[in-house]
Symmetry: C2
Subunit: 341 residues, 2 copies
């Protein structure tokens, strides 16, 4: 499929202008544009520009609040509750991770729960902010129904990622950001937009039959990793990010592309800690030793290097930063539309 | 295989006496016996009496410290570091979860890290203690090498369980306790002891070939769930329970059955929080609604009820509590030996 190339900065300015046209203030527009551009640069296209029009549509239909006033309630020096006031998810999540970082630096640990938020892109993007400040972090969020609980014939859990980040003693952070579905829903969406197939064994159509058609998969059910284990992990994430935060849960988070009947009210949970709490200055030596020892293991034929989670994304980011961003025709059409209105 | 039945209380008393004979005080012997009996009652035989002789052997060889003096260092009202002094794992973990429960009740959240501990049985057993006090909990521990990192030809990660528990508003707690290997190492060990086969696709032998022979699997490599995702989760658990606690990590936890060259120095991490921190009294209503909604989903043919993690174990526990405990011939042989010396 033909692609168009655009410079990162040009593109970022344009996205900021689009969001401002839709009523976001400069700060919120900028936070949102940075998150979308970052997703493109790390190669997570399902969380990048392919979502721009959706965000703008939701603002137009007033199911994202362009003028959100985010409320912060400090429960203790380590515990904070954020009410996103239906802001665009990026802004609610950015507020929350910044509070978590500040409080963890002060008290050693921080727990920040967010309600009334929306889709915020990649969990790893927020985890990285904490790791860059020398902190360890776990991030949980729920998402619209995509995966069937073990034993059920209907999707209810989102792809509910589990995200963990830690400093590594090197400039490449360890960022595990893994959905509990066999495939990321964003990837299925991109395949659908670009007319590609999806792998076998990752999804069922709405009648319960295996499918490699991304459109049928989006109407059907995604399969969790490892049967009841993955289903249990998804359930845990729904409780941590939805039940305890005041967010929607149990399958009530609306699909942002298809359901404009109200805000998503997604919940997030950020847990941040100082990695040197218990072992002091030896943390750096310990984590370096851990990674080095694992990298030295004998490798499967054809594997050049054992990579830790986050290395691939970091490398893609570094390479892409030097280049112009490839825009698919579908995204270009969205951009032209958003410029024109 | 022929089994022998013994009454729970008779058996518990006998285990306490055995541990005392090996030098544990009454309290430590009792904590350890309760954990072993609980594993039998919930049907987790790989963490039950099949390990009793191993624990006693390690005490005899002085790689478990029968007279351990556990050191507790409070870093803040919410953060504690426990040095297990190479106690039997049950006792170090029991100390830690009790501190975590007390501190979470006081401050809303508690983080307790443990070093110089050993194999402690089921993570879910400690999670349940917190849940019974109305708290939400995550538990991480590492374990001897059993699973190969993604891309590696050699085991390094333990089966490194991820454990999460929450009150449910009913008497059956939600306890997810899932190893990130395709099969629990304890189950392979029980199959080996009882001369049974293991399922296909869960392990490789030491040359890298698939095997259903439990003995070959124990010498070889267990497969992680979901490839790089499961490998990443195992790595996360190794960092959370080993690197930051001061415990062994990166494959240095010794196999308790095979390596008597020193203590295991396993690390654990307990994170406990009040589930009503953010939503107050509505938590109970929310979690009940969550579970009820999921249970009401249309079911796959043949599935009677969608179960949440922990329900099966609870039901087995309830049923088994009324009965006598079945002892395999192999365990009976161990018991006779331990009585005799």
């Amino acid at each position: 499929m033909e692609k168009v190339k655009l410079k990162t900065n040009t593109l970022k300015k344009e996205i900021i202008n689009i969001f401002k046209k839709f009523g976001l203030n400069n700060n919120h527009a900028s936070i949102s544009a940075n998150a979308l551009i970052n997703a493109e640069l790390v190669g997570a296209y399902g969380h990048g520009l392919s979502r721009l029009k959706m965000y703008c549509d939701r603002i137009s239909k007033k199911v994202i609040n362009a003028k959100a006033k985010i409320k912060i309630r400090n429960i203790s020096q380590s515990i904070t509750h954020v009410d996103g006031n239906n802001a665009i998810g990026f802004v609610a999540a950015d507020t929350a991770i910044k509070i978590a970082i500040k409080n963890a630096k002060k008290t050693g640990i921080a727990l920040v729960a967010v309600k009334n938020s929306g889709h915020y892109g990649l969990s790893g993007y927020y985890a990285e902010q904490a790791v860059k400040k020398g902190l360890m972090v776990m991030v949980f969020t729920n998402a619209p129904p995509a995966v069937a609980p073990y034993g059920a014939l209907k999707s209810l859990f989102g792809t509910n990622p589990i995200c963990f980040g830690t400093p590594t003693g090197s400039k490449i952070p360890f960022i595990l950001d893994t959905s509990i579905s066999m495939i990321n829903r964003g990837k299925i969406r991109v395949a659908a937009r670009e007319g590609k197939r999806i792998p076998e064994g990752v999804a069922l159509d709405k009648s319960g039959k295996p499918t490699t058609d991304p459109k049928k998969a989006l109407e059907g059910v995604q399969l969790p990793i490892a049967g009841f284990r993955g289903s249990g992990l998804a359930w845990m994430v729904d409780i941590l990010s939805g039940v305890i935060t005041g967010g929607n849960h149990a399958g009530r988070v609306k699909d942002p592309f298809a359901d404009f009947s109200g805000p998503q009210n997604i919940g997030h949970l950020f847990f941040v800690l100082k990695p040197n709490l218990f072992v002091g200055n030896s943390f750096n030596k310990r984590i370096k030793d851990n990674i080095k020892t694992i990298k030295k293991l004998p490798k499967i034929k054809g594997v050049k290097e054992i990579l830790y989670p986050g290395q691939n994304k970091f490398n893609r980011f570094k390479n892409n930063l030097k280049k112009e961003i490839n825009i698919s025709k579908a995204v270009l059409k969205d951009l032209e539309y958003l410029r024109s209105i």
